[in-house]
Amino acid sequence: MSVVAPATDSFLERLPLIMRGWFTGLFPESLRWLAGSLLEIIAILAVFGLLFAFLTLAERKVLGRVQNRPGPNRTGPAGLLQPFADGIKMLTKEDIVPLVADRLLHFLAPVVLVAFSLLTFAVIPYGRHLVALDLDAAVLFFFAAGAGTELSVFMAGWASHNKYSLLAAMRALAQLISYELPLLLSVVPVVMLAGTLSATGIVAAQGGWTAGVIPHWFVLRPWGLAGFAIFVVAALAESNRSPFDLPEAESELIAGHLTEYSGFKYALFFMAEYFGMTALSGMGVTLFLGGWQAPCAFLRFIPSYAWFAVKLFALLLGCIWIRATFPRLRIDQLTRLAWKFLVPLALVNLGTAAFWHLTAGWDGALQIARWALALALVAGPFVLLGRRLSTGIAPRTYRYAAS
């Protein structure tokens, strides 16, 4: 953050830095770093808090439109105040803790969850000069922080001392662990090709345009496309989004590990879910969609953070759209998808990326051959594995239901 924005940047581009400089200027020299970090923390909290609030609203609106109903439109103009109303409701609700519950863990679970999911925001570069913590191993940090989710889910399920919660927690853990693998494996090619683990470095590696209009985003490479697809699916599962929302779906094990949670703690879980989704989308943007890079050379005048925001919203809306569209998976289909489809595909994709890296020197006709080969490497396994995946899933037989 201490980068002084080069004068070439537009005013809007430098605006955040200028504001930051002004704010820290109010403090004595010795406290500036503290003020700076505090400012970043506050900014992140405020921005993503609001984002969370309106994301819930947007989700309900979009779902409403998809299901051909208006959605919330009473509180405030066009229901804009709905999230705050919800928040107040949540805060004022009674916080019920089961008598036999493990009180400490029951309290700790949501806190840990929120804390870890907030950590993940620290390393995402939101703009050319906007990254809270420019780590050398940022990607690793991101996923390490993500590891806290599983812990808190387990805590919640176990502390509730409720067999449904426990069962659902185990299932949620199984899901999280299974999808952690394709998630990481889909990221490895990016790290490999960009040659760095630092988020800014990865974004920088996606800079530049061919003929000024075709950006060099990784998603536009064969391996990147496959990686992005895998990443999105795995990210949906990691953030318990539909169609992978078994752990907390009301129809499955009565909302799972959240059964015994109510009031503010439930709100915390809810918030953490959205934080996780946002953070993963942000990471997806950073890794595959070129981060804050503009899509075309002549669009550079629009500040970088705006581009980032646009891409982020696009991804989030995509998630909502998917939720509105797809039916929920069954638990066995879920794990099957992870282990028999995504993981092999991700491994093959690794090979594709290696091929791409090794053939970087090819050009001319070889360049075309390179693209063709890489595309074949992506498409072939997809088709084959997809066929294998769909075979053998007979229509479900209800063994215990009277049919």
Partner: protein, 171 residues
């Protein structure tokens, strides 16, 4: 600098000690997670960023999960709560033994003439580590990969014994 170290050390030792003496398995496992986080904090403090994150990712993310799973799978009513006969003697002898070891180690540490100077923090960038792993240490890396694969398969085979199939897709 030392103050931070002392705090970290306290976290590590306290969490480990309590975890090792608790009756409640889950609690001690979670305390061990805290302990591992403390170790990661130590790595960060020493400037080994990559290792710290790797520690969190692997221990907090993976190992703790396996441990908790195993605990839940092997949990039975009062399986551990019952004080098995002789456990007191065992505890005493264990304390004695580890006390002796502690004595030896502390003696060794205090006796050894260690370099008093603290050199500037060495920069171990991920790039250097990668070069090291892929270059001089490549063989070791391969071996580690093989070990992990074999361990994974072995674990699956050990744990998946006499499993009767397609019970799990019953509604």
């Amino acid at each position: 600098m030392n103050a931070v170290l002392v705090i970290i050390a306290f976290t590590i030792l306290a969490s480990a000690a309590v975890a090792m003496s608790l009756r409640n398995l889950i609690h001690s496992a979670l305390l061990l997670v805290a302990n591992w986080l403390g170790v990661a904090a130590f790595y960060l403090w020493a400037g080994a960023e990559f290792v710290a994150f790797a520690q969190v990712l692997i221990y907090v993310g993976a190992v703790s999960m396996i441990v908790l799973f195993a605990m839940l799978l092997t949990r039975r009513a009062r399986a551990d709560a019952a004080v098995v006969p002789g456990s007191i003697d065992r505890a005493i002898s264990a304390l004695a033994v580890s006390g002796a070891v502690a004595g030896v180690l502390v003696f060794a540490v205090l006796q050894t003439h260690l370099p008093a100077v603290t050199p500037p923090a060495p920069a171990a960038t991920v790039r250097q580590l990668g070069a090291q792993l892929m270059g001089p240490q490549a063989a070791a890396l391969l071996v580690a990969g093989v070990i992990l694969t074999v361990a994974l398969l072995g674990a699956v085979i050990l744990a998946a014994k006499e499993r009767n199939s397609n019970q799990d897709d019953a509604p």
